[in-house]
């Protein structure tokens, strides 16, 4: 099943945060605890979610305990959209 939100999150991460890396990012891959998205880029991810999906992610939620994969982040976005 393709998840539109995951696809857009992954695209943002690979083009903007990983600066066009050829890496294939899966929805279940750890992005925070792995250091793939480092702490300096977490706020970019939050702002992207805000602009693209109209969902606010609080700074206290920007850690691996709240979400560590784009699949989990997509789930948060869906819950808040509905």
């Amino acid at each position: 099943m393709t998840d539109e939100i995951v696809t857009r999150l992954n695209e943002f991460i690979t083009t903007k945060i990983l600066k066009g890396s050829k890496k294939f990012l899966a929805g279940e891959e750890a992005i925070i605890s792995s250091g793939l998205v480092d702490s300096f880029s977490l706020v970019d991810l939050a702002l992207f979610v805000e602009d693209t999906f109209g969902v606010l992610i609080d700074d206290t939620e920007l850690n691996a305990a709240t979400f560590d994969t784009t699949g989990q982040l997509a789930e948060i976005i869906r819950q808040r959209q509905s």
Binding site: L36, D38, F40, D44, D59, N63
Partner: protein
């Protein structure tokens, strides 16, 4: 005779109920710590250290996050006469094994007698220790609830001499942790005196800081300067700030902050990542100095910051600069107090080819150099040639300094200490020039990468990259290149591999990225794989980082031209 312990004692007598620190934590109400509470909390820690048999002059490593416990432990160690050294806390991305390696290497060189940390982190700390180590006690909050007499009688800290070492400062990474800058009471207090003058510190100042306390800028400017001079400090954690940079602006507005120190990248970071909705009702007019320090200062970064925050009351005259290093306790120079820091527009080619800073003629390619200001009152600066001779105005050379606040030594590293001095002058390893009495920093002699104000040793990154399968040992170079957008440096890894298959090469690059992300304090994107023989070596057969950096930049520029 005055030591830091005497100052704390004096503060507890004269300003018991005054706010020393206002601690901010995301998701929690702000907490005010008065001088009375600070001293009481610190005395309790001093008692704990004493009960654990820790002797004065022994090193106590603190592995604690921003908060009251770190503050009390730091000053508690000093009141006990011991030597505190703050180590960065484990981050989410760093592999525990790597953290352990760093800690082990710190322990083996620095020989601490105790480590203070959280109960839940104690197993991690113990895993880094070996039998026969110097560490006699790992102390956590549950073992530190010891009742003590809350007074200063018999306190070991008051028996210390001015020339005794009061604290150690380390850079991060395996290499940085092996070289602790040892500072005496006298050095710290002399720095405080001269630096307070340089920034015209006054009683109604309010310092706002999010800087880590294991770094000189955070520990001295953003911690000891306010606390020891009686100026209130609003302290938030770097962990919170990086996720919500607007909290800095809100804190300045709420507490009428007047002074803040920031590494250059933070100007870009704030300007790019703070939204108008975060700035509603924010008033920055109280800020009299936002001081750029600890990585190359960029004119563009100041302009971006000003353009973004002038509508909220930020004054152009508040943009200040400072050149600092732990080896001089903190500041060497200070610029831009009361008016914006000077900008010297110089000829780019003259700088690059002749190491000369000539004012640029109209139409010539130029570089806008931001002045680091004048040496502070107790510090003298010279610009030296490779032969150690003084260079004239506007000639670029190595910056050497002499002051009454220089390091006592690199702790237990007589070899490193000897190398760092020339006839009593400390050789900074930075390149720069003087013009009209002001210092301008142009680059570095040492192969150090500074990312977001953090010192990164390339050898640590190279060692990690060499562990990737398919990479030849000894055939890796790590260096920093300018990241204009972020206002800092970006790490580049160049590695020689034999494999030509594209998929395989991408896998190796990914492996290198992962090893560095997990094994160091930086995240790396740019891994450049090259064929055998690409890397430039020195005559002694070592990979030359600077030469390979040049080669890489030329190659990248060529590719960019080819693609346009």
């Amino acid at each position: 005779m005055t030591t830091l312990a005497h100052i704390l004692k004096e503060k507890s007598e004269t300003c018991l109920d005054r706010a020393a620190v206002i601690l901010m934590k995301s998701g929690e109400p702000d907490r005010t710590i008065t001088y009375g509470e600070l001293v009481q909390g610190s005395l309790a820690v001093a008692g704990t250290l004493s009960a654990h048999g820790i002797k004065p002059d022994e090193v106590v490593v603190l592995i604690l996050q921003h908060g009251s416990q770190l503050i009390f432990s730091f000053f508690g160690a000093i009141l006990h006469g011991a030597i505190p050294s703050i180590m960065p806390f484990l981050t989410e991305k760093l592999l525990p094994e790597r953290y352990r390696d760093g800690l082990s290497s710190l322990v083996s060189i620095t020989q601490p007698a105790a480590i203070m940390t959280y109960a839940e982190f104690e197993p991690e700390v113990r895993a880094a220790l070996k039998t026969g180590d110097s560490v006699r006690a790992v102390i956590n909050e549950s073992t530190s609830q010891i009742q003590v007499d809350e007074d200063f009688s018999g306190l070991e800290g008051l028996k210390r001499s001015e020339n005794d070492i009061v604290l150690l400062q380390h850079s991060s990474g395996t290499t940085g942790l092996q070289k602790g800058v040892a500072l005496s009471h006298r050095a710290v207090l002399n720095q405080l005196e001269s630096y307070s003058l340089a920034i015209q510190l006054r009683e109604n100042d309010v310092v706002v800081s999010w800087l880590p306390l294991y770094h000189d800028m955070g520990l001295i400017a953003g911690f000891l300067v306010p606390i020891l001079t009686g100026v209130p400090l609003v302290l938030m954690s770097p962990f919170d700030w990086v996720r919500a940079p607007y909290r800095l602006m809100q804190a300045v507005s709420q507490y009428r902050g007047t002074l803040t120190w920031l590494p250059n990248f933070a100007y870009n970071f704030c300007a790019q990542k703070i939204r108008p909705r975060h700035m509603q009702g924010v008033d920055l007019s109280s800020w009299r100095a936002v001081i750029n320090c600890s990585e190359p200062m960029r004119w563009d970064s100041h302009q971006q910051f000003l353009a973004c925050f002038a509508p909220y009351g930020l004054k152009a005259s508040a943009l200040a600069t400072c050149y600092a290093m732990a080896e001089n306790v903190f500041a060497v120079t200070q610029g831009g107090m009361g008016s914006a820091a000077n900008v010297d527009e110089i000829d780019r080619q003259e700088l690059q080819t002749h190491m000369r800073a000539e004012p640029a003629a109209p139409g010539r390619p130029s570089v806008k150099m931001v002045s680091a200001g004048r040496p502070i009152a107790n510090t003298k600066v010279r610009i030296l040639s490779a032969e150690g001779d003084d260079l004239p105005e506007r000639k670029v050379g190595e910056i050497a300094l002499y002051s009454d606040c220089m390091l006592s030594e690199y702790y237990r590293r007589p070899d490193e200490t000897r190398k760092a001095f020339l006839d009593g002058w400390y050789l900074t390893g930075d390149y720069g020039y003087m013009a009209d009495g002001e210092v301008y920093i142009t680059g570095r002699k040492k192969d150090l990468i500074i990312v977001g104000g953090k010192n990164i040793y390339p050898q640590d990154l190279e060692e990690l990259a060499m562990q990737a399968e398919g990479v030849h040992p000894g055939r890796v170079a790590a260096f920093g290149v300018e990241d204009v957008d972020a206002g800092t440096e970006e790490v580049v890894i160049v590695a020689e591999v034999d494999i030509e298959n594209e998929v395989e090469r991408e896998r190796i690059a990914e492996d290198i990225r992962e090893r560095i992300n997990h094994g160091s304090d930086v995240a790396v994107q740019r891994v450049h794989l090259v064929g055998k023989g690409w890397l430039v070596k020195t005559s002694s057969g070592k990979v030359s980082r600077s030469a390979n950096r040049e080669k890489f930049l030329v190659e990248v520029e060529k590719n960019q031209t080819a693609n346009t």
